[in-house]
């Protein structure tokens, strides 16, 4: 188990370096992740944006090592969480991270809760397991008995449900998932993900399955909860609006590669990468004329037989021969704004 520390710099909470992942399928091996670069520090709220199929969900799952490695294969790179490479850990060590250090929320609240178990029980289960690793969360010491832990876990679960805004939490904990509305269920899932006080929360499309009003509520809840605890967030989404709403930082992905990343303000107001520009330009804004919605020509590349070098080149107006030579590295003067494009000089923008 090797740990790579950034020379001279403080250790980042999460540092994904040059991650390559290949997925085996009937038609062939798809090169799904093509050198992903991402650095998340404590307290930052990152949005990971991109179209469907660009690899953002798999990146999220990889952090918690939830991708099944028979069909998938990590070709290169590392995922450093607090300096430890997640890809090289033993499964038992990984389990200690899950829930306690890394929390996760998935997209669809209807299918992400076990229908035959009471809600309170499901969140208590998570709290119980975490209590084994870190008894202080439950307010106990390491010598506590299982029955004590169970009770403490149940209490913590109810407390957490209250914090996410579920009224009558103690009573509602005895209900089953189908007795909750969609928005409530998503809150329950958020509660489950945060009960272990994780350092990093990965939210995969947390608002996509909800209607607009609920979306706003959930996002607000998320940002409130993490601001008080200093939890870092990685929100995976295709909705730039949500990113603009709560994210401090954003990384834009295309075909398995992060093409632009940095402070949300910077990236969204001064996008440098052609893809980011096209994405933002495609957003409908108030006041535009009918019929002038701009779209991006071409289609996403075939990942089994991807184009050489920069994968966006085939659709890019500024593409040149240089683009096909190698995948551009994500570079920038500082971490506040980095771009992966050979045509953009880092010195041009501040």
């Amino acid at each position: 188990m090797s740990s790579t520390l950034d020379q001279g710099a403080e250790m980042s909470l999460l540092h994904i370096q040059n991650l390559h992942l290949s997925m085996h399928s009937f038609e062939g091996d798809a090169h799904v992740l093509n050198g992903v670069e991402l650095k998340i520090e404590k307290g930052q709220i990152w949005g990971l944006a991109g179209e469907t199929g660009c690899g953002k969900s798999i990146t999220g799952l990889s952090i918690s090592r939830l991708v099944n490695t028979p069909p998938a294969r990590y070709l290169d790179g590392q995922i450093l969480f607090n300096g430890r490479d997640v890809l090289k850990l033993k499964e038992s060590d990984m389990r200690q991270l899950r829930g306690r250090e890394i929390g996760m929320i998935f997209q669809d609240p209807t299918t992400n809760l076990n229908p035959v178990l009471r809600v309170g029980e499901q969140i208590a289960d998570v709290a119980y397991e975490i209590g084994r690793i870190a008894p202080e969360i439950l307010g106990l010491t390491a010598t506590a008995r299982a029955s004590q832990r169970k009770k403490a876990a149940q209490k913590l679960g109810v407390d957490m449900l209250e914090r996410v805004g579920i009224a009558n939490a103690a009573q509602r904990a005895r209900d089953y998932p189908h007795q909750f509305s969609g928005g409530m269920r998503q809150r329950v899932l958020i509660a489950m993900a945060l009960v272990g006080q994780p350092k990093l929360l990965i939210a995969d499309e947390p608002t996509t399955a909800l209607d607009v009003t609920l979306q706003a509520q959930v996002l607000k809840l998320l940002s409130e909860l993490v601001s008080s605890s200093g939890t870092a967030v990685l929100m995976i989404t295709h909705n730039l609006g949500a990113v603009a709403q709560i994210c401090s930082h954003v990384a834009v992905m295309y075909a398995g590669h992060v093409v632009e990343s940095g402070l949300t303000q910077e990236v969204l107001s001064h996008p440098q990468h052609p893809y980011t520009r096209a994405l933002i330009a495609a957003l409908p804004k108030p006041g535009i004329q009918r019929g002038t919605l701009s779209t991006l020509p071409g289609r996403v590349p075939n990942l089994i037989d991807p184009p050489p070098g920069c994968r966006f080149a085939p659709r890019c107006a500024q593409a040149s021969h240089e683009c096909t030579l190698a995948v551009p590295a994500l570079v920038g003067k500082s971490d506040t704004h980095r771009i992966a494009c050979v045509h953009v000089q880092p010195e041009v923008f501040a």
Partner: protein, 335 residues
């Protein structure tokens, strides 16, 4: 919850009534004249006529049914020609033996079926898929009586590990009668040697009966477990740190069990009616053997008694399964 239970139990009554009507109809419709049989070949016309009156066959059908039904409820299930005694008494002797056999067989099938099914689903690869399918098809294709004979051949005759037939050695003294099931009665009396003896005799016939349900339960368990493993909530539970042991036990098992439960209920009923041949092979004195002898002699009252008993037990057991369903799956009782 209580509401659900009461409702289901009340629904049971018309079903049982219908059962009794059907059995009555079958009894009357079976070709062959019970009166002549009961009277014997040498009876005179007057004796036959008198017997017909005694059997109540001169009255209209509805009255006959009413008499039959009231008789049933009062414990008069007719008389058996072979034992020359009341059918109900015969049933009290023979039914526990069959129940013991069926319960033992289902125990084997359920325990091993669930375990094997879970295992096969968790450790999946192409070869296991095929072999599970083939083995389970082969298992249900195997005739029970042939399997019984094979088991006898191998274990009793060649290896001498088990006995050939019967329930208990003639020279040994059985435990005091409580349920009529020798294994349970021995345990209740704290009589370990008797328990082991009874088990030795029960083993082979129970194995012969258990193969078919074992195969089906394994297959169903495997299919539903695989389905559950794909569900989103499994990923969430895993992502939040729930360890694999607990995952399997609490999160997979309950969800996967529901469809298997229905099969278990059905099989119980089928086995009850299907012990005939295995009892014949192993000389197991249960209702299957009792019914067979009655059929050979065209003795109707025992046949009807057996059929009614099995039907009633089947319906009751399925009710229990339904109730269990309600416990496991909250949507059923709340929704």
């Amino acid at each position: 919850m209580l509401h659900y239970i009461v409702r289901r139990i009340l629904l049971l009554l018309p079903v049982l009534l219908g059962l009794s009507m059907m059995v009555f109809a079958i009894g009357r419709l079976l070709p062959g004249d019970p009166v002549l049989l009961a009277a014997g070949p040498n009876a005179t016309k007057e004796e036959v006529a008198a017997l017909a009156v005694e059997f109540g066959l001169d009255k209209p059908v509805a009255v006959q049914y009413w008499n039959y039904l009231t008789g049933l409820l009062h414990g008069d299930w007719g008389r058996s020609l072979q034992s020359r005694g009341p059918v109900l008494e015969d049933l009290k002797v023979f039914l526990p033996a069959t129940l013991e056999l069926v319960l033992a067989a289902m125990l084997i099938a359920v325990v091993f079926g669930i375990l094997l099914g879970l295992l096969a689903a968790v450790k999946r690869n192409g070869w296991i898929d095929y072999s599970v399918r083939l083995v389970s098809l082969a298992s249900i294709s195997m005739p029970r009586f042939f399997l019984g004979l094979l088991l006898q051949l191998v274990f009793a005759m060649w290896l001498g590990w088990a006995s050939l037939g019967g329930r208990f050695p003639l020279i040994a003294s059985p435990p005091p009668l409580v349920t009529g099931m020798l294994t349970i009665d021995s345990l209740l009396a704290g009589d370990l040697p008797s328990f082991l003896l009874a088990l030795q005799y029960l083993a082979l016939p129970a194995m012969a009966m258990s193969l078919s349900p074992l195969a089906t339960i394994t297959r169903m368990m495997r299919a539903s477990t695989m389905e559950v493993l794909q569900q989103d909530y499994m990923l969430t539970a895993r992502a939040l740190g729930i360890p694999p042991g607990k995952l399997l036990r609490k999160y997979v098992l309950r969800n996967a069990l529901t469809s298997t439960l229905t099969v278990i209920g059905l099989y119980f009923g089928w086995l009850l009616g299907g012990t005939v041949l295995v009892e014949s092979v192993f000389d197991w004195p249960g209702i299957g053997l009792y019914a067979t002898k009655a059929i050979m002699m065209q003795d109707f009252m025992p046949i009807m008694g057996v059929v009614l008993t099995i039907g009633t037990l089947f319906v009751t057991f399925n009710l229990l399964i339904d109730l269990l369903y309600g416990v496991i799956n909250p949507k059923v009782r709340l929704g």
